[in-house]
Amino acid sequence: MFLDFEKQVAEFEGKIEELRHISGDGDTNIATEITKLQIKAERQLKTIYEKLSPWQKVQVARHPNRPHFKEVIKSLFSDFINLAGDRSYGEDKAINAGLARFRNQSVMIIGTEKGNTTQERLETNFGMAMPEGYRKAKRLMEMADRFNLPILTFIDTAGAYPGIGAEERGQAEAIARSIETSLSVNVPIVAVILGEGGSGGAVALATADKVLMLEHSIYSVISPEGCASILWRSSENATNAANALRLTAQDLYSLNIIDSIIKEPLGAAHRDHQTTMTTLGDAIESSLKDLLSNRTKNFRENRRKKFIAMTDNKLI
């Protein structure tokens, strides 16, 4: 799937595909032509992705082929043991969590999941969690604290689910408790925004010692469409809202809200999952090492200090 601003790349790749189809083995002329076209396509991709507008980033962050949490689990963790349920009402598949081993370190991992197939998307509610999901997260963060396991969270959600049942079962309270627990545990927490970091439903899992963002991911108080429909009174102004909200990884880094940006391969994560996973793993490892090297082990206190100082005028 190509995004609307990738038309030229799509044309090059279409031609390459055509040539491959008609060429037999050892047809050197066609092979050179293909190489030429590939170079052109790559150059085009590079130009486009070097200067994506905020609204284009929103589209990339929501790309259906972007690597999801499920893939992160498979690529970066061994011995994953899925843990289910909030012990009071149900199991929410929009948030996956469990014990795992990350490069020889035992960890607790928690992440939102959008799903890849239609069935998965329905099961995970397109990555929009219910209160049960946040309550499961809270339960497992507390468990991690008891067993001294670092917590790694992965966020890719448009936001917490806005529905009747979710409201009646205390969506707001569940998010507030998840934030509260994140600020109570005394183990390191590293959060990664993989794609969309949507509002309260995202910060519920991103109140962390280190917050990392993939290069083309976004993190915002409201979706650009939602913001446009409230402030501009028309969702057609989503592009303007995306500019105004300052929601790109680069903006958030310059505002001192996040700690680092993880580089994505040429043409973004959805074009090369393997490279993305390697870079992601290395970034997490280095953040975790950094935190664990702190001798005082005062994770909770430092995390609170970090958030109290955050948005202090002197820093922005």
Partner: protein, 287 residues
């Protein structure tokens, strides 16, 4: 100068100053349709005298209704160096919206904090102003709540928060979202000092405010009919494409679903807080 003082200045003043409420000002109650005289409404804390419908009450009047006479001290809030860090602009500039709200409410932002006594018991209160940009929570509000918590801890007094807010302030983008963890820290400070945190949910309390400190009180009191929830009703209807049940997200609905401890009329809130605090605080004071 005469011309300026006599003619120009009064005109400017007339533009800037809020107009006096005319004596014949009557309000139609959305609850029962009765016409109520504005003085009567004011004397009754903006609660309809015939059906008990709760109109919005501004922060100053709220504070006056809670504290014992002459014990109320407003706490000055630190001025921000830069109140529009993102230089946000929609169809209007955020800095213009702020200026207008400041002129209209003569408040610096959407919250007022105060200390004083309630039936002789010391307390710290933080009250939102819905009339200031929908009571939305940005950096200034986050700072104020942290300050109120620090004050409560240093005075060993309970903290009572009266939210009335649409949620996070969009014009401060991600910086407003960061007020969720920040205000949660404020609740932890109060609780860890062994002090009560009481939240009085007033109409409306939604979005990022509900998803942070407002749902973390030791005790949740809601005013009758107040809308309290995470998502706005329009967003929910657009998502599920179904009609919402009657009374959905109303204080009484939340009571049924276990999210608040009690629904209390504004006219009884002072007495209710007094009895709660006397039970919670007197053993603390004697300790």
């Amino acid at each position: 100068m005469n011309w300026i003082t006599n003619s120009v200045l009064p005109k400017i003043k007339a533009l800037v100053q809020p107009r006096e409420v005319p004596e014949n000002f009557w309000t139609k109650c959305p609850g029962c349709g009765e016409m109520i005289f504005h003085r009567q409404l004011e004397d009754n804390l903006q609660v309809c005298t015939s059906c008990g419908y709760h109109f919005k009450l501004n922060a100053k009047a709220r504070l006056k209704s809670l504290f014992d006479k002459d014990t109320l001290t407003l706490i000055e809030l630190e001025k921000q160096l830069n109140s529009d860090p993102l230089k946000f602009r929609d169809i209007k500039k955020y800095s213009d919206r702020l200026r207008e709200a400041r002129t209209r409410t003569s408040q610096d932002d959407a919250i007022v904090i105060a200390e004083g006594e309630l039936n002789g018991l010391e307390m710290v209160a933080a009250v939102f102003s819905f009339e200031f940009m929908g009571g939305s929570m940005g950096i200034a509000v986050g700072n104020a709540i942290l300050k109120a918590a620090e004050l409560a801890v240093s005075k060993k007094a309970p903290l009572i928060i009266f939210p009335s807010s649409g949620g996070a302030r969009m014009q401060e983008g991600i910086l407003s979202l960061m007020q969720l963890p920040r205000t949660v820290i404020a609740t932890q400070m109060v609780k860890e000092a062994g002090l009560p945190l009481i939240v009085v949910l007033t109409n409306p309390t939604t979005g990022g405010v509900t998803a942070s400190f407002a749902m973390l009180g030791d005790i949740h009191i809601a005013e009758p009919g107040a809308i309290i929830g995470f998502a706005g009703q329009r967003v929910i209807t657009e998502t599920i494409r179904e009609k919402l049940p009657e009374g959905f997200q109303c204080a009484e609905h939340l009571l049924d679903h276990g999210m608040v401890d009690m629904v209390v009329s504004r006219l009884q809130i002072k007495e209710k807080l007094s009895s709660i605090l006397s039970i919670l605080m007197i053993p603390q004071i004697n300790k």
